[in-house]
């Protein structure tokens, strides 16, 4: 119910929303949780395992119970904590884990079966018979388990990633965080102040105590007004810092669109930030924990501080008759505030002796809650006091087992928190994260005055670290009442007392884990699933380990904590991987001929990130093979045109360029003359082939290297390494110019005729012989011409600055067509190279030596090169190697399948008889047969022999003849013609 005169909500702005199909109203400034409580909607969820009725337990991101699915158009967001979901007009939310309805949940029968569903139940029950696991047990568990459901449709919601840098990151904007921000801001350092709520102030918004003589929230407003005036301060609301990483890197999740009724086009729902900070001040406050007592999970039972937040911040009372149960001085504030607000307080129960206070509501010192009643919501509690039992009617109970400083971030780099007996809590270990200091309640300072002072002090020390000196600033006056606590964890007794509300772990489960010898805190956690749900046990872990410590007879410090890992709050995969979907995952690289190529209806195929045409269909062609065979014949008889710009191009210059090339390539480049091109082979240092390509000498100290499309990046990195790490003395510079040049292959008997139609000066065999290169001009444009061939035909590659690529492609196209030629795609390119016996990365796949491909003699014995020493190893040369051969089918079956293995014709096709494998195949229209390349044991000595190809996947067996891999023009007359 609403309480008049309380809260920071705007009662003039009514917001309509739906929960569980029912319409409700709330106010601007409400969360979904506060609006539900204002409407007396106590039952909001069912628990995970026992399907127990559950209500709202906290007022923050640590909420274990009130998980709902928020629906937004077609998409839905499961596991949204109602306590952090800002209310907006038209919000629609559904409860989870309830079927058929929230009030009657069929799986509530699990609660009756609870004696059987104890810790380790799954491990013990679903063991045998083994065959049941996949078909019976797993589907059953999957149906019963799980929190919420995804929409099972493509997620159209936008998520983003973002980066920020600052001098000082302040995490949390409660009293210590705000004071720290005000202090650092005055030094001129760049500050980011991040807080997970949309309204800054932390507990100052939830308490009635004054700061600097005004209400806490008014002091917050003043502080914010001052901070906004600083150009060097960036305030990030709705932003939870989720993890601390190396070298001052922090992850943070910003909820951008979640609190808006209409998310504007282009605005993401969430943004995942990577923030780099020279220093950080952790002001994350503390979280209140529960006390374990029988049936402590009924709707209406919540944290005492959460209850106070609903009253003071939202003007909501979660009940008509309020009771409070605690073991510390802070719990009394809840009873006091509700009484002062005019809500009936029926009991203040304190487990400590002798804590009577002068108040006008009943207080019970040295008392404890031993039972509760109310099936769908709290109706009464039973307390033990002065040796007797007493039943008190109430519909809301606030519980405080003390405060746990939020040390999570300090543990993200393996720091273990330190037990403080006076606070009965773990405190952050000092210097657990390099560059991060802790202030306020997170460091165990539990008063407002203390938090303000420490925020200021930490800010000063951080500023000093960064070379700024600050004048001491005045601290606002604030409450300074000491926080007094006597540890009290577990009331005991017969009934089930919950620890982890989200995973339904009770004190009994922890005790049973100990009985079964899961005594280490890490074992207990995994056996009982304590702290393993989406809330990661924020309210319950410390209490659970206290119960464990008691059951094992060890102390809490000896028992220790489990490991806190990032993220601090759940982060949607969509946010974490934002930008990594679809095109963001694999950006597209387009050729300069891309538009003209697509206009010719060529299907495009990915080659790395590049898109290249597969083939160019002509009218009437219905199968890619028709187009491909035609294109091959066209190149062999007239002229073909192909964009080969995807090949890596590296420009190498300097007096020592040739020495550098000689180190990189197996063969010598010292003898290469200006105006000539040479094929080169590169090895890895372990003696295997890295890449092949050509290298042209453009002038005395200027070379242009080409690499394969696939290995362009690897070769560049390798060259950087060889130069910088091995031979920094060489005077050579190089850079990738792959994107600077558009390069087209012009291949076929008519190639020269075509070029002579467009070049400013005609070429001949004399001016441009086979393996020649040089500068040419066309239409006054400086271009480069290389007489090289990947097809076995008389061929050239013509390169122009990329900006002329599109127009050159169109020009070449028109010229080729006039000569009976045209464009060809990479299907035809592959057939042409296989006919000629050229290799690609299908062959040089990383386990291949120069010897294997018949290029052993290309490793010069006159000089050293990368990989030379290891290439000479025994085992890398000889008849035991699989060597490159050609194959053609000779039996009835004509199919050859890349990846299939080779065997002797009479041998059983089993592993130990393996003789090699097929790497590439095609149908050769020139040879009018299927042809293939393969690696075969001692293959070069087996020409003319028969081998059996067996593809175990498709069950195809083909008898083949071993032959020379060069099927076309082995003498090379056409290249030179």
């Amino acid at each position: 119910m609403r309480v008049s005169g309380k809260g920071l909500i705007d009662r003039n702005t009514v917001l309509n929303f739906k929960f569980n199909g029912q319409p409700f109203q709330g106010f601007s400034g409400d969360t979904l949780a506060s609006a539900l409580l204002a409407n007396d909607q106590r039952l909001v969820a069912r628990s995970f395992k026992y399907h127990r009725p559950r209500g709202i337990m906290t007022a923050g991101s640590e909420e274990p119970n009130a998980l709902v699915t928020v629906q937004r158009g077609k998409s839905q967001e499961p596991n949204t904590r109602a306590t952090v979901q800002r209310l907006y007009e038209g919000l629609v939310a559904q409860p989870q884990n309830a079927w058929p309805s929230l009030k009657f949940d069929a799986l509530g029968v699990n609660d009756l079966l609870s004696p059987f569903l104890v810790a380790g139940f799954y491990y013990k029950t679903f063991m045998w018979p083994r065959a049941f696991w996949e078909r019976v047990y797993e589907p059953f568990i999957r149906h019963a388990a799980g929190l919420g459901a995804l929409a099972e449709a493509y997620d159209h919601d936008l998520y983003e990633k973002a980066f920020a840098h600052c001098d000082v990151l302040i995490i949390g904007a409660g009293p210590s965080g705000l004071m720290a921000a005000l202090t650092v801001a005055r030094s001129g350092l760049d500050v980011i102040l991040a807080d997970e709520n949309d309204r800054l102030g932390g507990r100052l918004l939830s308490e009635v105590e004054e700061v600097a003589g005004v209400a806490g929230h008014m002091w917050v407003d003043d502080a914010l007004a001052e901070l906004v005036g600083f150009a060097n301060v960036r305030i990030m609301t709705n932003t939870t810092v989720t993890g601390a990483y190396d070298q001052g890197t922090y992850g943070a999740l910003e909820r951008v669109g979640h609190h808006l009724d209409m998310v504007p086009e282009g605005l993401p729902l969430e943004s995942f930030w990577r923030i780099t900070a020279k220093r950080a001040i952790l002001c994350s406050g503390a979280l209140e924990r529960q006390i374990a007592f029988p049936d402590n999970d009924r709707p209406g039972i919540m944290t005492a501080s959460g209850m106070r937040s609903y009253l003071n911040c939202y003007g909501v009372s979660p009940g008509q008759k309020i009771a409070v149960f605690g073991n510390n001085s802070d719990a009394h504030r809840t009873a006091r505030d509700f009484a002062e607000a005019g809500v009936e307080v029926v009991a203040m129960i304190d487990s400590r002796e002798g804590t009577s206070t002068q108040v006008d509501y009943p207080t019970y010192a040295g008392a404890e809650v031993v039972a509760t009643s109310g099936r769908l919501g709290l109706k009464s509690i039973s307390i033990r006091h002065n040796g007797g039992l007493k039943t008190i009617e109430c519909d809301a109970l606030g519980v405080s087992g003390g405060w746990n400083p939020s040390v999570h971030l300090t543990c993200h780099m393996n720091g273990r928190p330190v037990w403080d007996p006076s606070l009965a809590s773990f405190l952050p270990k000092e210097d657990a994260i390099p560059g991060l200091v802790v202030a306020g309640a997170a460091s165990g300072v539990m008063t407002t005055a203390g938090a303000l002072a420490q925020g200021c002090q930490m800010a000063q020390s951080v500023a000093k670290d960064l070379g700024k000196r600050l004048m001491p600033s005045d601290l606002p006056h604030a409450e300074d009442r000491p926080y007094e606590i006597e540890p009290f964890w577990d009331v005991g007794g017969k009934g089930r007392a919950w620890l982890d509300f989200q995973n339904d772990v009770t004190t009994k489960d922890v005790k049973q884990a100990v009985q079964e010898n899961f005594r280490s805190v890490e074992h207990m956690k995994r056996y009982t699933t304590q702290g393993m749900a989406t809330d990661q046990g924020k309210n319950s872990n410390i209490t659970a380990l206290a119960v464990l410590a008691d059951a094992t007879g060890r102390g809490i410090p000896e028992t220790g904590t489990t490991t806190f890992r990032p993220p601090y709050v759940p982060v949607a995969m969509a946010a974490l991987g934002a930008g990594g979907q679809g095109k963001g995952f694999a950006p597209e690289r387009f050729l300069t001929s891309d538009r003209a190529t697509r206009a010719l209806r060529a299907p495009m195929i990915e080659a790395g990130l590049w898109y290249r045409p597969s083939y160019f269909p002509k009218d009437g062609e219905t199968h890619w093979r028709q187009s491909c065979d035609r294109e091959v014949a066209m190149v062999r008889t007239a002229v073909g045109l192909c964009d080969v710009s995807t090949l890596g191009k590296i420009d190498i210059q300097g007096p020592d360029a040739v020495a550098f090339l000689d180190l990189l390539y197996t063969n010598s480049f010292a003898s290469l003359k200006v105006g000539r091109v040479r094929y080169g082979l590169m090895l890895r240092e372990d003696g295997h082939v890295m890449d092949d390509g050509t290298c042209a000498r453009l002038s005395n100290s200027h070379y242009l290297m080409t690499t394969t499309t696939a290995a362009a990046g690897q070769v560049m990195r390798h060259m950087d390494f060889v130069h910088q790490a091995l031979r920094p003395d060489l005077d050579v510079s190089f850079t990738s110019v792959t994107e600077h040049w558009a390069q087209f292959a012009v291949a076929g008997p008519q190639a020269r005729a075509l070029l002579n139609g467009i070049l400013d000066r005609k070429i001949s065999d004399k001016t441009m012989p086979y393996m020649g290169c040089g500068a040419v001009q066309l239409g006054g444009i400086e271009a480069r011409l290389f007489r090289i061939s990947f097809s076995g035909e008389h061929a050239y590659e013509l390169a122009v600055p990329a900006r002329y690529g599109d127009s050159l492609f169109r020009l070449l196209l028109a010229q080729a067509e006039a000569l009976g030629g045209g464009p060809y795609g990479i299907e035809a390119l592959n057939v042409l190279r296989l006919e000629k016996g050229f290799i690609t990365h299908a062959e040089i796949h990383g386990r291949i030596t120069a010897f294997d491909i018949g290029m052993g003699r290309m490793i010069s014995d006159k000089k050293d090169c990368i990989g030379k020493s290891m290439a000479a190893r025994s085992g890398l040369n000889g008849p035991e190697r699989d060597q490159l051969v050609g194959l053609r089918p000779v039996g009835a079956v004509k199919k050859i399948i890349p990846g299939a293995h080779l065997f002797e014709p009479d041998a059983a096709p089993i592993r130990k008889n393996d003789q090699g494998y097929v790497t590439s195949m095609c149908y050769s229209p020139t040879a009018e047969t299927v042809i293939a390349q393969a690696f075969l044991r001692d293959g070069r000595n087996r020409m003319g022999q028969a081998v059996k190809m067996v593809d175990h996947l498709s069950g195809v067996t083909t008898l083949c003849e071993v032959c020379n891999p060069v099927f076309f023009d082995p003498e090379g007359g056409r290249l030179r013609g």
Binding site: R274, D720, Q724
Partner: protein
């Protein structure tokens, strides 16, 4: 994780390509024994504590860097250019 590139300043590790221990800088003489080459190419220590490894600033200045770091604390202690002092 961040690496202080001597040429570019402090940069996110996503800009770098990792390439194993810095012993790769000590390329053996071509005539060295197979054991020496095997050691150079394949055998690596796995220290808990100080180590030096090679990172390529591939998305930056293309410099190969020798990064001295602590595998236990993840602290980056020193960074230098693989090619030596001359810039």
């Amino acid at each position: 994780m961040r690496i202080e590139c001597p040429l570019c300043g402090s940069r996110d590790r996503r800009e770098f390509y990792y390439s194993g221990h810095a012993s790769a800088l000590e390329r053996p003489d071509p005539d060295s024994s197979a054991e020496v080459w095997d050691d150079y190419l394949h055998n690596r220590d796995n220290p808990a504590g100080l180590t030096e490894d090679l990172w390529h600033h591939e998305m930056g200045c293309s410099a190969w860097l020798v990064v001295q770091r602590d595998t236990v604390s993840h602290a980056v202690l020193a960074v230098r250019l693989a090619k030596g002092d001359q810039l």
